[in-house]
Amino acid sequence: MKGRIITAAFALTALVAAGCGSSNSSSSTSSAAASSGTSTSASTKACAATIGIEGPFTGDVAVLGQEQLAFAKLAVDMDNKANGTNITLVQGDTQLDPSQATTVTQQFTSNSKMVAVVGPAGSQEVQAVGPLFGRAGMAFITGSATNPDLTKSGKNPTFFRVVSRDDLQGPQDAQYIVTHLKPKKLMIIDDQEVYSTGLVSAMLPVFKKAGITVDHESVSQKVTDFSSIVAKVDPQTTVVVLPWQVAANAEQFGKNLAEQKKKATIFGTDGTQSSSFTIPGSYVSAFGPDINSIPADAAIATAAKAAYPKYGTFGPPVFAATHVIDEAISSVCKSGQTPSRANVLAAVKGTSEATSILGQPIKFDSHGDLLGAKWFLFKINDKGQYKLVQNS
């Protein structure tokens, strides 16, 4: 009996420990004080605030969420040091699921100490939680939700984003393919997620107008073998478009192409921009730059490499989003006020950064979209390095 109790206790402890990895509200800053959500640092107590981050820290796209989390932590740590603030970051795991995001948002909005939130990652999540944040008067800034309706619809009055929209990126990607890669036939494969199908919808009219024969396929991002689809890539199909969120899947697709001796060029988007995807000759369009190519970002890039070695395009925009909130809190404190949802929201609306980790100024329009949002196109060279081909 005693043995059973010990076994049960062990199992329960292990489960709790494992559950901590997917906790909805565990702290993610580096200090122990921050873990409790009640920071008490004597040197910085003059400007203390709590912010949240929503992202898929576990689940199928944890690889993206963990990257975002690492960059958010990095931004908070660096900004706390630079501004003398004591901002605590509380994490909420949404698993890219709108219902989970809603639960996390309710927890965040009912936390009176929380003044603003970074995230969530997916457009479908923003659609679900936008009105909740709006009612709470709390600013939330995403680093990756790109659906145009999020800002066009007017349903999300406290929403901001530091990346471009699908209706800008999708047609531009498609136009580049038409003009420069000149395919007569192409294959486009969505990954059955809102992000991916949204981009495909934005690209298809351009291909149709150009008279290109399109084979539209669809495959779950949980699939890890694409050999059956690759077998359908015929010699006339010279381009395969992969608007995917998981770079490793694009890498495997490229290996399946090589395995079957197919020569089609891969054109990936956003999520595929990562050191996990290095198929030579491939193109990747992204809403974020390669921060390694921006001299001013050298210190951040070095720190990021230590925190999350295989980072791609999802981390830097979250750093930028977190930095906007951190600076808003700092400016509120400098004006002699105590950070609150209302004054932080006002400060975020008035953000005017001359430059950022993204290599561009950050200023929002009245809908929360980034003014002058850029789009970046890279080509992967024979060494697997990303070389900027075009930006706009």
Partner: protein, 305 residues
């Protein structure tokens, strides 16, 4: 015809892996009437063991031992290690619940599944890891006839799976342990009264089933390169479907179900569209269940009167 053969090979590769995982589901169900939902995660652990063996011996591009020896170590360590993990899971999570209502071990199995997934996530992070198999087994090796390309890795996966499946069949049919397993599956109490060491037999069943899942994980890494901590979920679900289609509890049924689902997926993807793969595969499952509830090779339950 070449397109058909290409898709057939693709389907057999995936189907072989489903079959190996399905065998574990079927063996455990046959002997304990337990749906071990953690079984797919053992496949994931096996894939990670194989990955770390590659790293241990210098990494995919700088191996310090010959490739055949590397493969041997990968299969032995993944099979042995995951087999022992399966035994430990049975000992600590399922055995205390052997006489509990059947819902208890079922829920425990789900708990073990989440425990394994999240433990691996905490230990090794969310990043995908790449076997980079082509660095030590080049794509150029294998069979290449015109547009038909079958890599050596796929030949290895299919060949080894067939050997393992038939070895298991021989073990169950013709050895003392196999007889004990069949006896325990038939009637645990009667087997015990006849002198069969039931705990040992169940442990060995878990060892064998888990070892096959671990080896399947290594094969998945070799064939599909990318591994991650949640890779066991979908594979486990498909393998479970395979076991049910073939007739859960039946070893031959698990093999048949796995191959059928793998080949069906490839053919649907190749000849119809990848968009409809899951729709049609699970549609087939429903039809099979309606027409033949015990599965293709399963036995109808005996009516006790």
């Amino acid at each position: 015809m070449r397109f058909f053969i290409q898709e057939l090979v693709n389907g057999l590769t995936q189907g072989s892996l489903y079959a190996l995982i399905a065998l574990g589901y079927s063996m455990v169900y046959g002997i304990l009437k337990l749906l071990n939902f953690a079984h797919g995660d053992l496949y994931m652990v096996g894939a990670f063991v194989g990955y770390f063996v590659i790293q241990w011996f210098g990494g995919s591009t700088a191996l310090v031992i010959p490739v055949p020896l590397l493969l041997l170590f990968m299969f032995l360590l993944a099979g042995g290690g995951v087999g022992m993990l399966g035994v430990a899971i049975e000992r600590f999570a399922y055995r205390p619940l052997r006489d509990a209502p059947r819902i208890a071990p079922l829920i425990t199995a789900l708990g073990v599944s989440f425990l394994l997934e999240n433990s691996m996530l905490l230990l090794f992070g969310a990043s995908f890891r790449d076997y980079n198999t082509s660095a030590f087994i080049p794509f150029s090796s294998g069979i290449h006839i015109g547009v038909l390309n079958i890599s050596l890795t796929r030949i290895l996966v299919i060949g080894l799976s067939v050997i393992l499946m038939f070895s298991l069949r021989i073990l169950v049919d013709r050895t003392k342990l196999g007889r004990q397993m069949r006896a325990v599956a038939e009637d645990r109490e009667a087997a015990e009264m006849l002198g069969v060491n039931v705990n040992y037999t169940i442990s060995m069943t878990f060892f064998l089933g888990s070892a096959l899942a671990g080896i399947a994980g290594v094969m998945a890494g070799l064939a599909f390169n990318q591994i991650y901590t949640l890779m066991g979920f979908v594979a486990g679900l498909k393998a479970f479907t395979a076991a049910v289609v073939g007739g859960i509890g039946s070893i031959a049924g698990a093999m048949l179900g796995g191959i059928l689902i793998g080949v069906a997926e490839a053919m649907i993807s190749g000849y119809i569209s990848s968009t409809y793969t899951n729709l049609i595969v699970f549609g087939i499952l429903i039809v099979v269940m309606i027409v033949r509830p015990q599965g293709l090779l399963g036995r109808a339950p005996l009516q006790k009167v």
